[in-house]
Symmetry: C2
């Protein structure tokens, strides 16, 4: 039987109760969520965001309301969302879209919105809702950090597909007479992942970036977030496949550095240091550990090897409806890890003019310790291609 991407209704019922309790604890009558991922989380509505406000209103008690522009109304109905759908005619329109919401729900005494709400939109909400007192709240942000068992099932399936994308990318490079360009390889693996999902799942939750990836080789890969360009991979050089996908809107990433040809001693050394750091950092992802401490243990492996000058970023980040979301496995984040958190573990070193080396797995924190959801092999013999 095909895999089911849609969360069961009980997920939404339970979430609704937990949001209500959290709002109650903060003394809020409701929350207005205008981030596309917060909307997807609380209502199940996925869309490609643009300037037209799409807003979930979740009251302390009672049903959620999904405010959409008229052009999304039938798309929302087709997605069987867990909220009452309310449409405004168009943006900007003769009156604020938020006036349609206010007419439907009144003007509660105390409402919250997220810190991600743009200042202009917050001002418009305040203006339209008149005497409502507003505050910034992280109620939904906090709930999103700990995944439910139903969500973890989605992450696990996404991990299977992301690993398959890695294998397909490695296969293509190994079997090509001439290595592909970065952009060609990126298109191939993202297309492969999307096609696999459509073939094996009968209710794909389409999100704006269903599959995605950074692909770069040689000196280009020394720039950690460089986007894929027209350069061709080259024999004798490392290349990186930094791939991700979303199942039911839940992301994972699976990233490996490959070496095209017999590794040089220098390539071998950089790779092995990163592999060890990723092992140590991943082992640190346990309940009760602070994010900043896991990060330090992880990056200390690289510093102890004398490669600290090649660090460019932290160990990792939370992953869920966002492909990057809190908590941050970084200095400056004192979050204590809890079972149910899903995190990337992805240290790297970046040697200017030479290459970058990074290994990333998506890791679930459990009572028993870290559990890697992605599992592409990472011994050096597993990542050497065409030797």
């Amino acid at each position: 039987m095909a895999f089911t991407q849609r969360l069961p209704a009980t997920f939404h019922t339970d979430l609704r109760a937990r949001i209500g309790a959290a709002l109650d604890a903060e003394g809020l009558d409701g929350v207005v969520l205008d981030d596309a991922l917060d909307v997807a989380y609380t209502t199940g509505f996925s869309h490609f965001p643009n300037e037209r406000p799409v807003v979930a209103y979740v009251p302390r008690v009672g049903d959620a309301v999904l405010l959409v522009p008229d052009l999304e109304r039938e798309y929302a109905a087709a997605q069987d969302v867990h909220a009452q759908v309310l449409a405004y005619p168009e943006f900007p329109g003769e009156r604020s879209p938020f006036a349609v919401l206010r007419d439907a729900v009144g003007a509660p005494a105390r409402l919250g919105h997220a810190g991600s709400t743009p200042v202009a939109r917050a001002a418009e909400l305040a203006d339209v809702f008149g005497r409502t007192r507003w505050s910034v709240t992280d109620v939904v942000d906090r709930l999103r950090r700990v995944k439910t068992p139903e969500e973890i099932t989605l992450h696990q399936e996404a991990a299977r597909i992301a690993d398959a994308m890695l294998a397909e990318g490695a296969r293509l490079v190994a079997e090509s007479a001439e290595p592909p360009t970065e952009a060609e390889l990126a298109r191939h693996v993202t297309g492969f992942g999307a096609a696999l999902m459509h073939a094996e799942h009968d209710d794909v939750v389409v999100v704006p970036m269903l599959t995605g990836g950074l692909v770069y080789g040689g000196a280009n890969s020394a720039q950690p977030h460089r986007m894929p360009g027209g350069d061709r991979l080259r024999a004798g050089e490392p290349f990186m496949l930094s791939l991700g996908c979303a199942v039911g809107g839940r992301f994972v990433e699976s990233e490996r550095t490959f070496i095209l040809g017999e590794p040089t001693p220098e390539q071998r050394r950089y790779y092995e240091v990163v592999r060890e750091a990723q092992h140590v950092g991943t082992e640190a992802l346990r309940p009760g550990v602070r994010c900043a401490d896991a990060n330090r243990r992880c990056l200390d492996v690289i510093r102890a090897a004398g490669l600290g000058g090649f660090l460019r970023h932290r160990q990792g980040h939370g992953i869920g409806l966002g492909f990057h979301e809190p908590p941050w496995v970084s200095e400056g984040d004192d979050t204590v890890l809890l079972p149910g958190m899903v995190l990337s573990s992805e240290p790297g070193v970046y040697v200017p003019g030479h290459a970058g080396y990074r290994i990333s797995d998506t890791v679930l924190v459990t009572e028993d310790g870290p559990r890697r959801l992605t599992g592409y092999p990472r011994d050096i013999d597993d990542i050497v291609i065409g030797r």
Copy 2:
């Protein structure tokens, strides 16, 4: 000779002077821009935005500063940006990234940021900059609305590629024994456009969505912003290719409704009404015309034909670094059109359970009237496939 995507240095010199003059008129000492597209506009730096702040600081007088996380530092250098590059270690880090900016530029008396800045970030800026007085400004937003001749050259080339993507999509469907799925067709045409750009341009400015598109057929296309899924196109039904791409970061869109097989009288009628509305609406895009008036003339064609109940959206929107950006060709936007504005003209009708019909061209407002940058044919005989 290959097409050049990078804007000349004079574009940035001139823009720098215009921003300075606009800040002076508002009594601001500088502006802090944290929107990825504002950053690309003012510095030439393209990146995939995430939670790490990337900020352009443009003072009234003097050089711009580009604040990036350390992991983007070498990517910014490789893009030869028109700003002094300043890096902070990591996010969240021990101290605010904005403290690094403040240490470099001091705390000017009066600064602005855009209305799109998130409330939490605006609060952090205010906190870090201490006695600086902040206001919301649309200085850069206003400048972005009117494109320079160098930018128009980029839009024109993007239009050529978007039209080629449409032609390739139509070819694929016409030549396939079995029609493709929406997702397959979307992947094919976006891959085709990206490959064409990489083949013909030697300095592709890579943006997060270099090519993109909505692809849907039959009843699915009655949901204007439905994302492409696993359903197969079907003989006898209309399908829509709503495609776009960016050259030098400047977007266009080119969208056509096709009919797979001999059109029925009903299909023919819907198509012809939309074609006439798009003609009338496009002719209205002239200097001195208010956006809301162009929109009314355009949509009145559909209302006069008795199809007003099938309207779901306005005539169009501005297009530039954003694939949707102000002004809005909509009721509620009284912007008076100026030469150099680039707009989509894309009325549509959406018949629930049957199909949607939309035609979009990207149109440049000139002194002499509207000039269509995209030009895929739109007579009904041009959009019938496999009859």
